[in-house]
């Protein structure tokens, strides 16, 4: 998150992390989609791990570091993955793009040279959910 520390008392505790981010903190780069953990538009990094903020309650992450799409800009430069997305026009409507980018950035942090299988897994909402895996199937070998 762009902010260093957020006081617990600042937000309502009966809503999801997604709603805290968007409505209480005004970080609208995280997108509100299906609310079912399927579309991945709400993906944020919780302690570096891609997580679906629509399924997380604020109390679960009181001690965690949350990174949203607003928080991954480094020294005024775009992450190479974002630069590439922009250059190649990878975002169509773009609503799910922040979530895809965060998943990709997290993957590259752990595996700077990921295999195709690792990419496929990272781009699926949860490994093993076939719908999302199909949605983000990579093009045949590049």
């Amino acid at each position: 998150m762009s902010m260093e520390n957020v006081e617990k008392s600042q937000f309502r505790y009966t809503i999801t992390l997604l709603e805290v981010l968007r409505e209480d903190l005004g970080l609208i780069g995280t997108k509100h989609g299906c609310e079912l953990g399927e579309c991945r538009a709400c993906t944020v990094l919780i302690d570096g791990q891609p997580s679906l903020s629509c399924l997380v309650l604020p109390v679960e992450v009181q001690e965690s570091e949350i990174t949203t799409i607003e928080g991954v800009e480094t020294n005024g430069h775009l992450h190479p993955l974002r630069e590439t997305f922009a250059e190649l026009g990878a975002a169509q409507c773009g609503y799910c793009t922040p979530g895809i980018l965060l998943s990709g950035i997290a993957l590259l942090r752990h595996h700077p040279q990921p295999t195709r299988a690792q990419m496929q897994e990272a781009l699926a909402a949860v490994p093993g959910i076939p719908g999302s895996t199909r949605q983000w199937k990579l093009p045949p070998s590049a």
Partner: protein, 100 residues
Amino acid sequence: MSKQQVLSEPETPVSQPSYRVIGTPRPKVDAYAKVTGRALYADDILLPRMVYGRLLRSPHPHARILSIDASRALALPGVLAVDYRRRSAAPLRYFAFQPG
């Protein structure tokens, strides 16, 4: 025009290396907004004095609305207005509003 002509490939224009736009990849105008999370979608927009509308639809697939009593809806805290239109033959439309 014969079928053969219709199906034939369109004539390829002679290569024009002087073109600066046609035939070259152009960046999307909103590409950077979208990869930085700054692109605004309808759900991201907050306007002063904005209120929210809800459409209440019939739970019955085939029924005739004989009357509408909005008094309980209007009594709910935060409800600004309940609107429904009655036209002789047209179906009834029924709206409720809640503030944000």
